[in-house]
Symmetry: C2
Subunit: 483 residues, 2 copies
């Protein structure tokens, strides 16, 4: 399969980057209309795990080698993990597959490499011309595209909410977010070929992961699939290599700007329908019911679950502080005068994050952070990458996270009780206020998942007189990270 290997140019670059962290040189100013190669962010150094971890050996995922740094959030199995935030953030704009967060509902379908080209999926339902395609055919017969996309689990930062009031969801830290260059085919091409019928309104997706309540499945609107500005695609490559098992090997949907739960892995079916998916996981997961609906009410009245207006699609504007890191320590005496706070932010629905602000006085006053948008560097590029065409020059949507930074005087940080962070998107949607550690009144329902509220980080001081700059890193569960 000639397109599977990385093209030579990218391989050379990747090898260069194995030695150094990625730091693209300045783009040269050029008025010429000819399309030169633009220097774009490329993936960080990567290592493909080859050994099954001990803890996985007695699980159905024994066939899946994994990176031991990943923090497990729901016990051993199913595999729901995030990288330590510092590790994720230090990789830069793009995330290696081994540190990319994973949300699995059950066992990972086992697909041997030799089975990949013959993997079949169907396009069916309310269409004139249903068909079945193999991955080999998908690559041979359709235009291939490559696109950077940030995926985020709906539960990103939920741990902060659960500390205030336990919700049904499990405790993601702030690293349930990852970014990769996905190669594949625009989903609209497949649907167009199948010719949706007049009453068609939704595209349902179904995966091969067999779960207690059936195969995992969900749906998005047909109009969105057909809208080039929404960038919805089928993908078989991440950062130039075939999808690894935890990421949907060999084929997945990639639904930019929406919660990760809509990006179905191990994709087997696209089903065009007149109504939203009736899959159990589409109905009973990833929803925010109105606050007055009690658990009893929701248990007894299915209408609450069947109302698609309560399903989460677009990501909410969100942000987190990577530095100062958890329990990081900084010198007060004899060290640098300034400290650079850093972190990430992202918007939903393709909306750009237009401002990021930090406060040292619990939100009385705010300072504006600088924002870097690495995604924008791809917009000037018109080139092939990993066998797919990179073509974002006409698009305005932002489907990736951005990185922010702001310098504080170390002396200011010393006086601060905490650092509060908030981001706003281009629609002027701002993260809601609220000290995430305040106790709610007993009858207060969470309005929206509280983990979209403005984040807080304690400043990095423990012992004012210390001269040590060692940071004691803890993982997301509070366990000391083994060095």
């Amino acid at each position: 399969m000639e397109n599977l290997a990385q093209d030579r140019h990218s391989r050379v670059k990747a090898e260069k980057h194995k030695e150094l962290p990625p730091s693209p040189p300045q783009t040269e100013e050029n008025d010429s209309e000819s399309s030169e190669e633009v220097d774009i962010p490329l993936p960080p150094p990567t290592t493909i795990p080859t050994e099954t971890l001990d803890v996985d050996k007695k699980t159905p995922d024994a066939h899946v080698p994994r990176d031991p740094r990943l923090i497990r959030l729901t016990g051993v199995h199913p595999f729901n993990v995030e990288a330590p935030l510092s590790a994720l953030f230090n990789e830069g704009f793009l995330t290696s597959p081994e540190l990319f967060y994973v949300r699995n509902h059950g066992a990972v379908p086992e697909v041997k490499d030799e089975e990949i080209p013959d993997w079949e999926f169907s396009v069916e339902g309310l269409v004139e011309k249903p068909f079945i395609l193999t991955l080999r055919q998908l690559i041979a017969k359709y235009e291939q595209i490559t696109c950077p996309v940030t995926l985020v689990c709906a539960g990103n930062r939920r741990k902060e909410q659960n500390q205030v009031r336990k919700s049904k969801g499990f405790s993601w830290g702030p690293a349930g977010v990852s970014t990769a260059l996905f190669t594949g085919v625009a989903m609209s091409e497949l649907i167009k070929r199948a010719r949706p019928r007049k009453k068609a309104r939704y595209v349902c997706m179904e995966g091969a992961d067999k779960l207690p309540n059936g195969f995992y499945g969900t749906s998005v609107k047909l109009n969105w699939v057909m809208d080039p500005n929404k960038g919805m695609m089928l993908s078989y490559k991440m950062n130039g290599e075939m999808l690894r098992p935890d990421h949907g090997k060999p084929l997945r949907a990639v639904i930019p700007g929406q919660i990760g739960g809509r990006s179905v892995k191990w994709l087997k079916k696209l089903i065009v329908t007149a109504t939203p998916s009736d899959n159990w996981y589409h109905i009973y997961d990833n929803r925010v019911l109105p606050t007055m609906v009690s658990p009893d009410e929701s248990a007894n009245k299915p209408k609450w679950w069947m109302d698609d207006r309560y399903a989460i699609y677009d990501l909410s504007t969100n942000s987190a502080i990577a530095y100062p890191a958890h329990e990081e320590q900084v010198c007060l005496v004899g060290g640098p005068e300034k400290y650079r706070a850093q972190g990430y932010a992202y918007g939903g629905g393709g909306r750009r994050v237009t401002r990021v602000e930090l406060s040292l006085d619990k939100g009385r006053t705010w300072r504006l952070a600088d924002i870097d948008y690495p995604e924008d560097r791809y917009r000037d590029a018109e080139q092939m990458l990993y066998g797919g065409r990179l073509d974002m020059s006409w698009r305005e949507s932002c489907f990736c996270w951005c990185q922010w930074s702001l310098d504080f005087l170390v002396s200011e940080l010393a006086d601060a009780k905490d650092i509060v962070l908030r981001a706003m998107d281009e629609s002027m949607n701002i993260q809601p206020k609220g000290n995430v550690l305040e106790r709610p009144r007993h009858d207060e329902q969470p309005l929206v998942p509280r983990h979209y509220k403005q984040g807080r980080r304690l400043p990095p001081f423990r012992a004012p007189n210390t001269t040590s700059t060692n940071a004691r890193r803890l993982d997301g569960t509070g366990q000391k990270i083994r060095r």
Copy 2:
């Protein structure tokens, strides 16, 4: 101009509706694939004003007859007005042109009826084939479409904010919002014909209204103009009749889902550019600068105004209570047991309002209102209307306001100090919390225009023992409305 007159079918319906308020009968269930005529909301009864009001006679707008019910917000001239909220709301889904809000920056350009067909506008700038078109040519050579759109001034509900802390904007009440069926041509068609060059990224619009700082102008992204899902159009008809002078006669832009300031009236130019508009009104109006930028800072550093990330495009989710009306009175004794609260809500960027909630206890507990989406009734219609094709069946965007209602027990209202209202859109963006009448701390900058915060209405009780059901209506400025 054969398309200017209302088609016979609509005229018959309109005449019927002159006698009765619009109340469409039930749509019949029908599985047939044939496109039947669907019963769609049609405009309310309308009267074209013919006389100049006394107060306008000595202004440059002496040529513009107007409805005396409109409430002037900025003195006599320029004309910035909204209808009394009850009058607006009682018209139903669509608004008559005489009660449609008006935001003018200066004098209304005078265009005589006989000049309409020869009205010229240009499509120019970073294009291969610039051209000039007359309105006659626009109607003859392009596909005509008709579409319901709610326009909203960026300042809608700003009066509530100004009562807390005076802002730079003037005091719109909650009726700076209106809805009409606009007929015209998709803006993308004009731009497509002109063939934008490679570096083109924006479409600037310029009107014929000559203001202190030049003609009024602004811009939107080229990508949005070309995106059929954004519905951007040039329009010359409102509710089946030619635009009236205050609404842009004879030609305007209609930019759905964004603040009204992007919908340029008396349109003369579309200019395709590589950067946003450099028009004074695009730069210095309709912006929300970061909170830490002081008036001095913003006055001395143009960079704050030139950063397009701080310009307002999408409307913010917003809502208002129409009933109980201002100072309405309701019987406690001997009257109905229930009271039906009613009002409107809308989202921005084409996003549907997915829930509306009211609280009688200052936001401790909330109740879910019923929402009616009249805009949805057009989605099943495939027909000509007012000379343009109504074709929304493929689109998912919501560009119109919706109406909500919720019944309270009169006894509950008697105990309540106020009624708080909030709406959420499909991206889970909810109106921010905050008692709009609380005094801010002296140094508190408004985070976002406070008039997007949750609205408050005092309950309709003054004299508990009264048996009167008369409501004393006041206009938006506190003046008693003449009967």
